[in-house]
Symmetry: C2
Subunit: 412 residues, 2 copies
């Protein structure tokens, strides 16, 4: 007997037939003797529709009211799944964020969970095997207002609930059957990763792999929640862990040097040419961007040729590019640069692996593989377990395939 | 300065443009210095969609989960209207049933309101003129479960809130501009009724006029809430009371003999021929129907010709007809009747007016008007302030026009 949290995303509950299919998956776990809590997203498309309603009424809207509107999508699926489970003879009850309650702070539209009271859910689980069907994505603030956790927040709901319930595992059912060494739509030789560490998964998520919300991985890592990513639509192929299991490093016996290769097209590059090179220049440049709530990611400051001026290159989110350029041009005199150039046609490609902590030459292999294909590296950034490079977007597929082969990730 | 509750139905909030229009109406009342609470229905069509989801998953479903699903429609419109009001500079906040709270019993899908705590709403109204935008149709049970009040329940939410707030008036905005002497789509000479008594409105609502939910009128009568029915889509034509005001009898100076003529196509007729005529026969017949939760409305027992058998005619809801016939045929031997005949092609036409309490001859005028047109009356039932007759459905329009003229209701 184990205690499980199962999470089903928007495509998994996209219509009533699919909700019935989810109910059958849940019943399998109940029939196997497990205690089960379920977390559901809204039907696919519903949240977008609700967001669109808000936007069509006001350009800038009260996040508290936005939360009340968009949280309704998960309310619908939680009730429907409870009905579908009861129809299969499985005792079930829906739970909204305020009913459990899942208490959050009051940073609406991107609230953080502060605590979850699982007393009643556990009592019912233990007394009658009742399945708690919890609305994902939502909570309630201490001011008794509906709050939401940000897009993709249902993953976080599920992991947080698993932590609060001390669940043996949190299964994230989605429309892919696991985490891959890279995007299999681009690299046909991509392999499913059976086990990946929290640290690697965190880098994968934040560097572009869309399979799990970054915050949910942070939370899983913090609370040591075993997370499994698997497909709603394929039957489990006779294995206990048919998807990808996200676990502690010491649970992985044979660690690859590099586990996966992620990419993100969400960034854009800005270069300030001829910036006066003296102490404090970086702070002066990034101050106005911070004030405008624009995050800067990769940063490179070139060595100055004449000792007086330098070039500064950095990346911002593609959606922030226009605003960033505006902010910088406005401060041009104060910042004292000669020219600003920007480029949205870039992609960030990252190789990730805890193995590189103990092995030299990982970055070198990346640079060589790209150079061999004539791919120019524009910016580099590294951390303990990843190397990221910015390259021209046109080379995305070529670079992914080259790196996938170079690190020995191609399937046999 | 008055305190008002404004209620907007599904067509009034049918899309985001209409929600903006509603916000402008609300703003007018706020600008006039009034304290305002608003009650909203779901966007038209949404509740039907949600009900359909439940039905497509299970034929018989848990009413608690049905309530969680269908209550989400009002949640969306309450949040959106709050956003629209804020966009116009009007302070506003959405309130779900559980937030206010509106406490109901736990008869899910047709819950009754037990009490409403208006403390916080009133505090905000008085301190900052904040408009409370309340989700109609829903409440919360003492077991902390979302409950709903039954179809059309938002009218009841509005009247109950008006009673709890001791509001000066409850304005029900809808897609017609008031209560008419009869259905204006059938009788072109129908007039809008400027003032109508609670008692008459109650009869009108329960006898077929669809403009207000019957329970909301009962509640208005009980708590003496002044209710106004008016149109969302027409500008108020320079009058304080542009719609129909439902009030105490003593507020109406010149009372008409008959205020209105209602009709309902929702009933069907059953006749049991040759029933053994002895004491207790009625109880024996209606017992099985009551057991099957089938309501019987009009009842006529014919004088028995031979002193031994009689014919019994009564009406049931059209949707219950097949079931009622089944129940009775099954008990044929026990009930001891010769033959059962049924007819779904009937209509109940009712003339309503508190004036008939003090005037004789009102029913007589009805019978004569119908007889003059060759319309055969099948069943008659009366109360203190109404006379209803069952006639063949084909004569509906003819009967309505004849009666409208006979009681002097035609507009000049």
């Amino acid at each position: 007997m184990a205690r499980l949290v199962l999470k089903f995303g928007g495509t998994s509950v996209g219509d009533t037939e699919r909700i019935k299919n989810v109910a059958r998956k849940v019943k399998q776990e109940v029939d196997a003797g497990h205690q089960v809590a379920v977390v559901v997203s809204a039907m696919s498309g519903v949240t977008n529709q609700l967001v669109e309603y808000c936007r069509s009424i006001a350009k800038i809207y009260d996040a508290r009211e936005y939360d009340a509107v968009v949280a309704s999508g998960e309310q619908v699926t939680s009730g429907l799944l409870a009905i579908a489970l009861q129809e299969l003879g499985v005792p079930a009850r829906s739970w909204q964020g305020w009913q459990i309650p899942i208490i959050t702070d009051d940073v609406h539209a991107k609230a953080r969970i502060e605590r979850i009271d699982t007393t009643e859910i556990v009592r019912r689980m233990e007394e009658s095997g009742e399945v708690a069907v919890c609305a994902g994505f939502q909570g309630v603030s201490l001011r008794n207002r509906i709050s939401t956790l940000g897009r993709g927040g249902s993953d976080t709901s599920a992991v947080a609930l698993a932590a609060a319930l001390k669940a043996d595992r949190c299964d994230i059912y989605t429309d892919v059957d696991g985490v891959y060494t890279t995007d299999p739509r681009i690299v046909t030789k991509a392999r499913k990763i059976p086990r990946i560490t929290y640290e690697e998964m965190l880098e994968m998520a934040s560097l572009g792999a869309k399979v799990l919300q970054t915050r949910s991985v942070e939370m899983a890592m913090k609370h040591r929640v075993r997370v499994q990513v698997l497909s709603t639509f394929e039957p489990a192929p006779g294995s206990d862990y048919p998807g990808t299991l996200v676990v502690d490093e010491d649970e992985i016996v044979e660690q690859e040097l590099v586990s996966g290769i992620a990419y993100s097209r969400d960034e854009a590059k800005i270069t300030l040419v001829g910036v006066a090179d003296h102490p404090g220049v970086a702070a002066r440049i990034f101050g106005p961007l911070t004030d405008a709530a624009i995050n800067v990611d990769m940063i490179v400051q070139n060595v100055s040729e004449d000792g007086k001026t330098t070039d500064m290159t950095f990346t911002v989110g593609k959606t922030d590019l226009d605003r960033a350029v505006q902010v910088l041009e406005k401060a041009k005199e104060e910042l004292n640069f000669r020219k600003l150039s920007s480029d949205a046609n870039v992609v960030k490609v990252s190789v990730i692996g805890v193995g590189m902590r103990s092995h030299a030459g990982v970055a070198q292999r990346m640079f060589k593989a790209l150079a061999d294909r004539g791919i120019n590296i524009q910016v580099i950034s590294t951390s303990e377990i990843k190397v990221s490079v910015l390259i021209a977007e046109d080379y995305t597929e070529l670079a992914l395939r080259a790196l996938h082969t170079a690190y020995g990730l191609d399937k046999a």
